[in-house]
């Protein structure tokens, strides 16, 4: 946005009117001035089903507004700049009208659902919100400002400040992975006892010697036995729920070592699945009252209403869904947006860090809520290999899920949204953009 033709005087005019012909830049400037940068200042009127004609007429005659209609434009290609000083514009195909801020204010029109007036052809009046490209939450717009401020601050203090702030993870704890040490798991007195942790992935090696005697509840949603012939599921579940003290020289890699393990096989042994299979796994874990669901999977698609609904259902059932942000970035040049389901607002999105607490070059950005260790992560692997060291936001996700199980154990009140809030509030702040690491590095209680 190097070029901006809007003069300050014109922007102030837009603040007063938020007209239908205003450009997005004018509306953004006006909204910032008004102190509510999420809303455009205009109102959207939604008509009752089948009442479009009556509603449009009512806006014109009862409210006395000068209304344009999308039907007046060739092929409904509305040109907002051609609206002039119209009070609003009706979109007959979708049963919605956009009303200017000035016209709405002059008629005392405020956000409301007109349910109490059965005769009214109008269903609801809502503020119009700004929309941002590719799954980016409107609050990210503000996060951008914070990130910029932080960058300027660190420039002023010199690059040494950042190195100093993140340097202390190098102090390795003997006998545990760097990831567990970074999340402060070893000093925690919690073990996940009584907490059900579901891992929706490629299954699990149910005969792994380091999981003998553990409580397993399993189900397959892909028509193959739960037994993991891929490795991914055995690795992710190992991080979230693996043993406190593996035999021999093997370092500790598991977090909630006394949790009840729920394995939902939603990806085949070749690592693929469908959204329907994944939703079936989520439904199963929620129905089984798992307090934590770990999902190291995703697809590069827009926010899916079904995942958002499943996330809401989970929160309402005292369950928290934690998902991988994705590995589609190629930093520093390219930052890909978070995958579905992590991009849903009701699901916790996890970014990946390396052992110097830098963002992993592959880690997706945008809608990221928290970060976990995700580079060179040692965990369990199907027999006969038994262990493997791999990287990805898939590895960061079960670090957050495991810590969530420990937090859930500390209080029966820490469920669903309260558990999410606790994870966010206790995360270790990092001098990195919130769009890359969210609240920071997850920490155990």
């Amino acid at each position: 946005m190097a070029k901006r033709r809007t003069s300050p005087a014109r922007a102030r005019g837009a603040a007063a009117a938020a007209g239908v012909s205003a450009t997005t830049d004018e509306l953004l400037l006006a909204a910032l001035e008004a102190g509510d940068p999420a809303k455009t200042g205009r109102m959207l009127v939604t008509f009752k089903e089948g009442a479009g004609a009556a509603a449009a007429k009512s806006l014109k005659t009862k409210s006395g507004m000068r209304m344009a209609s999308a039907a007046d434009f060739e092929d409904h290609k509305v040109d907002f700049s051609a609206m002039g000083d119209a009070d609003g514009v009706v979109f007959p195909e979708i049963g919605v009208a956009l009303v200017s801020g000035g016209a709405a204010a002059a008629r005392g029109m405020t956000a409301a659902v007109a349910a109490d007036d059965a005769d009214s052809p109008i269903h609801s009046v809502d503020p119009e919100y700004f929309m941002f490209a590719a799954d980016v939450d409107p609050s990210d717009y503000l996060k951008g400002f914070l990130a910029a401020a932080r960058t300027i601050s660190s420039d002023l203090h010199g690059a040494g400040a950042i190195a100093e702030a993140i340097g202390d993870v190098g102090a390795q704890v003997a006998g545990v992975t760097w990831g567990l040490a970074a999340c402060r798991v070893p000093p925690s007195t919690r073990d996940g006892n009584g907490i059900k942790v579901a891992v929706l992935d490629t299954g699990f090696d149910l005969g792994h010697p380091e999981f003998v005697g553990r409580s397993f509840t399993t189900n397959t949603f892909v028509g193959q036995p739960v037994q993991d012939l891929h490795g991914h599921g055995t690795h992710t579940a190992g991080t979230a729920t693996g043993p406190k003290a593996p035999a021999g020289p093997i370092e500790r890699y598991g977090i909630a070592f006394r949790s009840k393990i729920f394995i939902g096989k939603v990806l085949t042994n070749s690592g693929s699945g469908t959204q329907a299979q994944i939703l079936a796994g989520m439904n199963w874990a929620i129905a089984n009252r798992c307090q934590v669901i770990s999902m190291s999977l995703g697809a590069p698609v827009a926010v899916q209403p079904s995942y958002t609904a499943a996330g809401s259902a989970a929160l309402a059932s005292g369950c928290l869904i934690i998902a991988a942000a994705g590995n589609a970035s190629n930093r520093p040049g390219f930052i890909a947006p978070a995958l579905a389901p992590a991009n849903s607002p009701t699901i916790v999105s996890v970014g990946a860090l390396d052992s110097a607490l830098r963002v992993a070059n592959f880690s997706c950005g945008g809608k990221v809520d928290i970060a976990g260790p995700g580079v060179n992560i040692f965990s369990s692997w199907p027999r006969p290999t038994l262990h493997n060291t791999i990287s990805g936001t898939s590895m960061a996700t079960p670090h957050v899920a495991g810590c969530a199980a420990l937090w859930a154990q500390t209080s029966a009140a820490l469920r669903g949204a309260a558990l999410r809030a606790k994870l966010i509030a206790t995360a270790r702040h990092l001098p990195l953009p919130p769009t890359d690491v969210g609240a920071g590095l997850v920490q155990a209680p």
Partner: protein
């Protein structure tokens, strides 16, 4: 054999009606119902893509979307 074009669909319910009632109406509207997921309020199945609008009009339906594949890649991939 005549090829019938059906597509896997994910139907998200609004929660304002009983899940099984909506599933029954979806079936009547042309959805071959495969799963009724009560805990999450989701019905999956397959239907002619042309009937998506008809499915959207079923009372209690919030969204109808096409299913999509998910792939985490092979076990020996560098990043997973």
């Amino acid at each position: 054999m005549a090829k019938k074009t059906t597509q896997p669909m994910i139907v998200t319910l609004s929660g304002k009606r009983a899940v099984h009632e909506v599933a029954r109406d979806l079936k009547a509207a042309g959805l071959k119902v495969e799963q009724v997921l009560e805990a999450t309020g989701i019905v999956t199945g397959s239907a002619d893509p042309k009937s998506a609008d008809k499915l959207r009009k079923v009372r209690g339906v919030a969204d109808v979307s096409a299913d999509h594949p998910v792939d985490i890649g092979p076990p020996d991939a560098d990043v997973q």
